[in-house]
């Protein structure tokens, strides 16, 4: 078994964190500045070096055209989705952006896609963890808002890959929070998690039952959070400045960012103070001064907070529970520190919310718990299992532009649905399929996930081909599609064109680009991967020595295998991944007969000609899969 650590990452709109299980307790890993929170801010300095986190914040004000924040709002989105955002956020899109293209954001003269910018943040967290462990970190669990759609999830996974992280699982943020809560509380019952963060709102209802965390329903709004409060206050300040002082500073990036910084400070101060003063220096020696009382502030933001009410009602309806049946309401996300929020939650759920957990850290801590579970767990987590749901219904477009829902929202994942298609015209060899996500009846009102063609259908009279298409949502909430023409038994070929997102090739080239600038990273990763592989085969060999097949080998054969085993063990300690790979190959060849003998004892003649490693894993002899699989990765 590899002893490599899997970290848990909360990739937030405003702040990001990395955590891991230290013994039985999840803990946050601080950055080199000693702080747990890494602000999700990325900037390009005057030498075109990437700056991340606290160090990048000053660029927001000094050179706003070289810095970006709240990039999470753009993940997995198309240009037509973000018109509203562009009015409120200083995102600078590349001028040559094509309509169907993945967004690109300008930092100075360079452009980056949202997954690349998120990858910079992830890489910083990875570095923080590696410094902390003094060892490489290549695997992570990353959290996403529960209400993220397929494209947003895929974009997050892409970001992980670009940052050199294998994303073992995407976990929904409120669910992660419930894991941290459940580890702490060890109780059975129904729990609600109200998560109001910097940019997103989620509400989830879970049933905790002897270590099983079963999500009953989830709802939310991926564009509702602290950012909206900030933008409201900024708009008011800008209007005031124009009205009272006759100055229009809307186009002045520096001033707008200065105002943003001041109103955020004011917002935070109002959680403990009853009145705060804004005092902002403006061009031409003028000043903008204003007092805000908590009462005024609360009245101003009430409409924003009220937008959380409908999702809360809907989620209780979907889960089939009343407020009385809910035992605890857990508050998560920095925006729940605003005193009105707990009051509002109390009103809706008719009980005092649970506020013992640090709302900024609990999601990352939960991600660390899930990472621990995935790595095999321990005494404290061995009984814990997360059963999450898909937040949005999956549908396909049928005649008349209508959505036919094939997997309903709040279905436990993994979930699947098998659909049958046929042709309309004699000899037709392609069938087009349009996949959608959302609750609306008409396809045009739902989110387009992907379009694909079922190709290579054997020419037959119309209506005769019977193509079976399987839609499967995995435990990450990401869709996979596979197809087969049943009459001919022929695999239908699928080329999935994601409506919003990077292609595999694009992600690969971004990974390469990032490695070009970090050759050492690449080499290290190869070494780690080769070592993991070596460990897998060595442990498989160890196991097989206990099987009857081992006894059936000749003395000479056993001696040879031991020699190759020793060689791999030795070379594994070295830092040369090519040597390790070579030794793995040699051992694999050398254990071919052992593998065959083991196969014979296990499933007789069905499996033959396998290498050691494959025998242990029980793969089928043919390398090709019976069905052409295509997924959105």
């Amino acid at each position: 078994m590899s002893n490599q650590r899997i970290v848990g990452i909360d990739l937030g709109t405003t702040n990001s964190l990395v955590a891991f299980m230290q013994g039985d307790v999840p803990v946050v890993i601080p950055g080199d500045d000693g702080l747990n929170l890494v602000p999700s801010v990325v900037a390009l300095d005057e030498n075109d070096q990437i700056i991340i986190g606290n160090a990048a914040r000053k660029y927001l004000i000094e050179t706003p055209e070289r810095a970006v924040y709240s990039i999470k709002r753009l993940m997995g989105r198309g240009i037509e989705d973000i018109r509203e955002e562009l009015k409120l956020f200083p995102f600078r899109l590349a001028e040559d952006l094509q309509p169907a293209e993945v967004l690109r954001i300008k930092l100075g003269d360079k452009t980056f896609t949202p997954p690349e910018i998120s990858a910079f943040i992830l890489r910083q967290l990875k570095r923080n963890a590696e410094r902390f462990f003094a060892a490489p970190v290549t695997q992570a669990v990353i959290t996403v808002p529960a209400y993220f759609n397929d494209a947003q999830r895929q974009a997050t996974k892409d970001a992980g890959r670009i940052a050199g992280l294998e994303v073992l699982r995407l976990v929904n943020e409120p669910t992660a929070a419930s894991l941290a809560f459940g580890l702490d509380q060890k109780q059975n019952g129904i729990v609600a998690v109200y998560d109001l963060g910097g940019g997103t709102f989620d509400i989830s209802i879970l049933k905790l039952h002897d270590g099983i965390f079963e999500v009953m329903a989830t709802n939310g709004d991926t564009h509702l959070g602290g950012d909206d409060i900030d933008n409201l206050l900024i708009t008011i300040a800008l209007d005031d400045i124009q009205g009272d002082l006759g100055l229009d500073v809307r186009r002045n990036g520096e001033i707008v960012q200065t105002i943003r910084k001041s109103v955020i400070e004011a917002k935070i101060a109002l959680s403990s103070e009853l009145v705060v003063k804004l005092d902002i220096e403006l061009p031409g020696g003028k000043r903008y001064q204003r007092e805000i009382t908590r009462q005024q502030f609360e009245a101003l933001i009430r409409p924003i907070l009220d937008r959380t009410i409908a999702p809360c009602k809907q989620v209780m309806k979907d889960a089939g529970v009343t407020p009385e049946q809910i035992e605890e309401v857990v508050l998560v996300g920095g925006s729940t520190r605003i005193p009105t929020v707990p009051a509002l939650v109390k009103e809706m759920f008719r009980r005092e919310p649970h506020t013992d957990l640090n709302p900024d850290e609990v999601v990352a801590l939960g991600a660390a718990v899930q990472a621990h579970i995935l790595s095999g767990g321990s005494e404290v987590t061995h009984n814990m299992l997360l059963l999450d749901v898909t937040p949005l219904s999956l549908g396909i477009e049928v005649a008349g532009g209508v959505t036919d829902k094939i997997i309903l929202r709040n279905s436990t994942v993994p979930a699947s649905s098998t659909q049958h298609y046929t042709t309309q015209v004699d000899g037709q060899v392609n069938v087009a399929v349009h996949v959608l996500q959302g609750e609306r009846e008409l396809a045009k009102d739902c989110r387009s996930l992907a379009r694909f063609d079922l190709k290579g259908i054997p020419p037959m009279p119309a209506g005769l081909p019977r193509i079976e298409v399987k839609f499967l949502i995995d435990a990450n909430g990401i869709l996979h599609v596979s197809a087969r023409e049943q009459r001919s038994g022929k695999e239908a070929e699928i080329e999935v064109q994601p409506s919003y997102g990077l292609t595999d090739e694009q992600v690969e080239s971004m990974i390469l680009e990032s490695f070009d600038s970090a050759e050492e990273d690449f080499r290290q990763r190869q070494v780690i991967e080769a070592r993991n592989e070596a460990e897998t085969i060595l442990s498989a060999l160890e196991k097989s020595k206990k099987s009857p097949a081992w006894g059936q080998l000749t003395n000479g054969e056993r001696k040879q295998i031991r020699k190759l085993e020793k060689a791999l063990q030795d070379v594994k300690q070295q830092d040369d991944y090519q040597k390790i790979r070579k030794a793995i190959d040699v051992l694999n060849q050398g254990t071919m007969r052992l593998a065959e003998l083991m196969m014979d004892t296990a499933v007789s003649t069905a499996l033959k000609g396998k290498t050691m490693e494959q025998a242990d894993m029980g793969e089928s002899p043919e390398t090709g899969h019976p069905v052409a699989k295509a997924d959105f990765e």
Binding site: R169, S375, E441
Partner: protein, 245 residues
């Protein structure tokens, strides 16, 4: 099964169900000896849970079984295994979730069983209604004859209400009548639900004695009740939508 491996197919064809890993005779989804996940088999949801095709299901027991199987099959438990095992775990646990979701809900369970029995249920779904509306085709849906008169009247009223809304007018008398109609339909809906429950009991009895003729009779009655029930559900939904509640 779309991604059933050749190994699994070979095993299924020879009728052999030994564990691929340790060779022991095994339970359907995972090996009862070594605990490893097994290649998914093409089975119906009842078979998956080892249940007879009966309509009265002990849901708490089903839930316990669901949790137990989740603890054996969920992809989270296969993070450190081969790609093939991960694939099987993904397939098996999606089958588990699909099966549990269908069987725990009595109506979904009934519809599923009827489909297994070869019945093509009438398309009562909202998407079919929408398709009909958009394409102008007539929906494959027959108004139950005894409801004809009421449905006709209700549709007239709904149309009137929509017209009024368009003109910005409000007719409290009309709204009141619609509310009355809605309550009546809701009562009918409840009666049909009770009726359906009786057929579940009948079905479970005939299954045990294996009477082909009787079985077909009960099946057809259930189809009829379900169709009427779905029809009324759609009507109530239309009224709710029109009333904006």
């Amino acid at each position: 099964m779309a991604t059933e491996s050749k190994t699994a197919r070979a095993l299924a064809e020879t009728g052999e169900r030994a564990c691929w890993s340790c060779g022991a005779p095994r339970a359907a989804q995972f090996c009862s000896t070594c605990g490893k996940v097994q290649p998914p088999q093409s089975v119906d949801y009842f078979t998956f849970f080892g249940l007879p095709r009966k309509l009265n299901v002990d849901v708490p027991a089903l839930q316990r079984e669901f949790y137990e199987l989740s603890r054996k099959l969920h992809p989270d438990l296969y993070g450190r295994t081969s790609k093939q095992e991960q694939e099987w775990s993904l397939e098996q646990s999606s089958l588990l979730n699909d099966a549990y979701r269908t069987l725990k809900d009595p109506i979904k369970r009934t519809e599923y069983l009827l489909r297994l029995e070869g019945v093509e249920l009438e398309e009562q779904s909202k998407s079919a209604t929408e398709t009909a509306r958009v394409t102008g085709e007539i929906k494959k849906q027959v108004v139950p004859p005894d409801l004809l008169e009421e449905v006709f009247e209700l549709n007239m009223q709904l149309e009137e209400l929509r017209m009024n809304r368009k003109m910005g007018e409000d007719d409290p008398a009309l709204t009141g009548e619609l509310e009355v109609h809605k309550t009546e339909f809701e009562k009918k809906y409840e009666v049909l639900t009770q009726e359906l429950k009786q057929y579940w009991d009948q079905w479970d009895r005939v299954i045990d004695v294996d009477q082909e003729e009787k079985r077909r009779q009960v099946r057809d009655k259930m189809v009829d009740v379900l169709n009427r029930r779905n029809y009324i559900r759609n009507l109530v939904r239309d009224v709710n939508e029109a009333l904006g509640s």
